[in-house]
Amino acid sequence: MRRLDAMRQRLRSVFRGTSVERDLDEELRFHVESHIDELVARGTSRDRARTIALRRFGGVDQVKESVRDTWRVRLLGDVAQDLKYGLRSLRHSPVFTVVAALTLALGIGATTAIFSVVDGVLLKPLTYPTPDRIVRVLTHWPKTGHDGENLSGADFVDARDRTGVFDAFSMVWGGEISVRAGDRSELVGTWFVNTSFFDVFGVQPVAGRTFRPDDVKKAAVVSNGYAMQHFGAASGAVGRTISVDTITYDIVGVMPAGFHFPQLADVWVPVPSQPDNMNRSAHNYPTVARRRADVSPQALSAAMATLSGQLATTYKDTNSEKTLIAMPLQERMVGSMRATLYLLLGAVAILFLIACANVANLLLARASVRTREIALRSALGADRWRILRQLVVESLLLAAIGGALGLLFAYVGTGALIRLAPVSLPRLGEVAVDRGVLGFAALTSVVASLMFGLVPAWQASRVDLRERLTEGGTRGTVGGGSNALRTGLAVAEIGLAVVLAIGGGLLFRSFMALSTVTLGYRTSDVLVVQANLPSTEDRADQVRVVDRLAQLYPAIATVPGVRSVAGAVGLPMGNSGSNGSYAVEGKHTFAPGQKLPYANFRLASPGYFEAVGVPLRRGRDFTTQDRYDAPFVVIVSEALVREIFPHEDPIGHRIQCGLDSMNYMTIVGVVGDIRDEPGTPPAHELYMPIAQHPGRGSLQEIVVRTSVAPATLIETVRQRIQRADPDVATKLTTYESHAADAVATPRFRTWLVSSFAGLALLLAVAGVYGVLTYLTAQRTPELGVRMALGAGPAEVIWLVLGRAAIIAAGGLMIGLVLSLAASRALTTMVFGTEAVDPMTYVVVLGAVLAVTLAAAAVPAWRASRIDPLSVLREN
């Protein structure tokens, strides 16, 4: 009640200042006038009485100000006092404060850093106007659940023209190809789009304009970066020209910095709205579109489903097993990373919980030391609520310090994460410690303070006054419940650490399996040169281009340190790939409704297999005689032979595929299996001579096998090519860096989860150590008595170790159960092992048991050194 009154008065002083002021005025005037009345009654003149009374009162304004001060002080007084007291008490125990703040900073910092990545990649909307209306139109295969990147030409046209749900609709395909600006040719990310492409995104150019319908094959739009690099400024680029594949385009517009769709795009050129290839079973066109504002996402899905149904009935052969779907662009970009990022967030949340448990344990230990101080304060009139509040304020202070430090960690950590993250992680540029992340850190700190602070504060405020004050010594405890609480926290810490350690162990094993899996080809000591010459639709011209590029091989081979050189199109783990159905003469035909085998199509020059270390099992390699005008030949992989020719010799059989022509190709050789990516099984492979498929041979991956570190040859090889044929645009990388990119995502999550697991174990072991030290110190009198009665050091050591074993056993049990429950989250990420891998479980459980017992060693040893005499004397 009185608290309520005081509150009301405070509110009055804040909100109705004038009326309170009037009251004060009246009160003081009454005082002075009473004094005057008294003086006048004694015979003083009224004027003189007024002077005396006012002088005696001592300055009405000063008095008023002092009264006002009491109002204000009261308003903030309690909190300020709590804060001041809290700061002082933290300063008085610097070791506790530093350890607790660093532990918290670690938890908050790691959590915040991971959150900044999750936020930047998954949560923040894309930076386009109305990002939710931008969709990718995909080919969905219900049988496998696979979402195909491309639409077939005819499906593309139907989705665009027959649904009426899109404002803008554009194909977008391309890659790094040769672009000439002035007299310089280089490989530039170039994308072929429809003229409505930029309408999909609703982004305006910084200079010039975007496409008009009559721009096809005439105009180009470039990125801000490209314009700056080649023309000095965005405005300087408009009106200049660039050449792509022998066609010259006028630059009509420059997009703002930060607009990169797709990721590597620097040049966009418009192609006709009618696709070249209208075959419904050839999927060649990645598609983006903009949903109409008056069409809901549900209506869009319904329209796509309706169209898919109609197409499936009309075109049974090609469309009965696929549907067309529209997926929000953001979902398509980041969907594949969601599982990994949420896994990391979960892992770091566990680390955070362990950190909080550790600090809670520290606070409990501290509270037991402070029981006398708390008892004294309540004896001096502080009620329980007040003490509880004081302790909570201290927790908040601690969390604030930890949070501020943690933010520092988060800044550093986020930078490190960005460097560590796989290149393929989309939207990495948008990851930043921004306002949202700051808010998250603040929230985390408050949550942390509640988690680690409330229970110890509640326990401490329950101090029994009389008992505490009368009890001698400083060895007061906070009541029987808190030892159980402390042990429980240690058990929970171990349990959580076990979950992380098992997760980290499984990922580590998978990663090792991925890294050592035989890819079937060599990635070390290989330099990859992407080389491109402009080409046209003319077949004779294409043959000439392939011949010109082939002349580079001997030129490169003369560089010292180079062992062999060969050309390829569709290098495993490379940027260009092609695949499709094939038919073996006498076994399959390309008739409608036929089920055909599927293979990767790769082009190679003579010597390719030797250069990348793929063994020739049977038959012969390509030779320079396998020219465009010679009989067509093909080399197949063992996986294909096993399935198609289980009991016969494949050499001499003939194959046709839909790569470019339907010419039959004779099998002349069989080579070893390869895997495109470490995690996939070997597929059927068709290798064809580049010279016989010149239409695809103008952008090659020239494979250079070296006898020295390949990176050291990059400059020399580049110059040699430049000298041999200045028109060739090149880009050089080591093959190993491709391989590293392929396992970058597993490496990223393995590295992080393992680090978290290591930190978690460290914290948990520190927690166990702290609890055991405390409990042992508390049992010193008991142990002293036992020793006085004849117990040897060994028995005392076993007593302490027994306690550790109980904590470890409890923790392991909890960890085991939680891990089994969580193993489902890992199934998509493990490779070469089961999600419940007994080996990992056994190793982790054994290791955790060992380190827990090791943590008990010091307190156990200390207990064994107790001097019974001095203990007995003390008590």
């Binding site: 009154d5 005081a6 008065q9 009246e26 003081l28 009454f30 005082h31 008095v63 109002w71 009139g381």
Partner: protein, 109 residues
């Protein structure tokens, strides 16, 4: 009778509580009574009386009410709350302990 003694820091609160424990009163009356009861030895600094009254009211030990006084002016009359009465008893005890202790020290030869 010598010069009136200034109040020891912190004892004003106790004196106010004591005065109000006998009878509700307004500020002027409280000041007068303290001076009378102490046979004019203690003189209340009137400037510190009102901040003290307001502080005690904020702390909930005393409450106030506006009444019409005999001279016809409106006066703010303070009285002890229940919590205030308990507080007063406790303050009184600790004051007695303190003064006893001080006496003990200063009288020891």
């Amino acid at each position: 009778m010598g010069k009136p003694t200034d109040l020891v820091q912190g004892t004003l609160d106790l004196l106010i509580l004591k005065t109000l424990s006998l009878q509700a009163a307004h500020g002027w009356a409280i000041a007068k009574r303290i001076e009378q009861m102490s046979s004019e030895v203690l003189q209340v600094q009137q400037g510190s009386l009102y901040p003290a009254l307001h502080r005690l009211e904020q702390q909930g030990w005393i409450s106030s009410e506006w009444t019409d006084s005999d001279t016809g002016r409106r006066a703010k009359v303070y009285s002890l709350t229940r919590a205030g009465r308990t507080h007063y008893t406790r303050e009184l005890e600790s004051w007695e302990r303190l003064s006893e202790a001080v006496n003990l020290v200063v009288r020891t030869v």
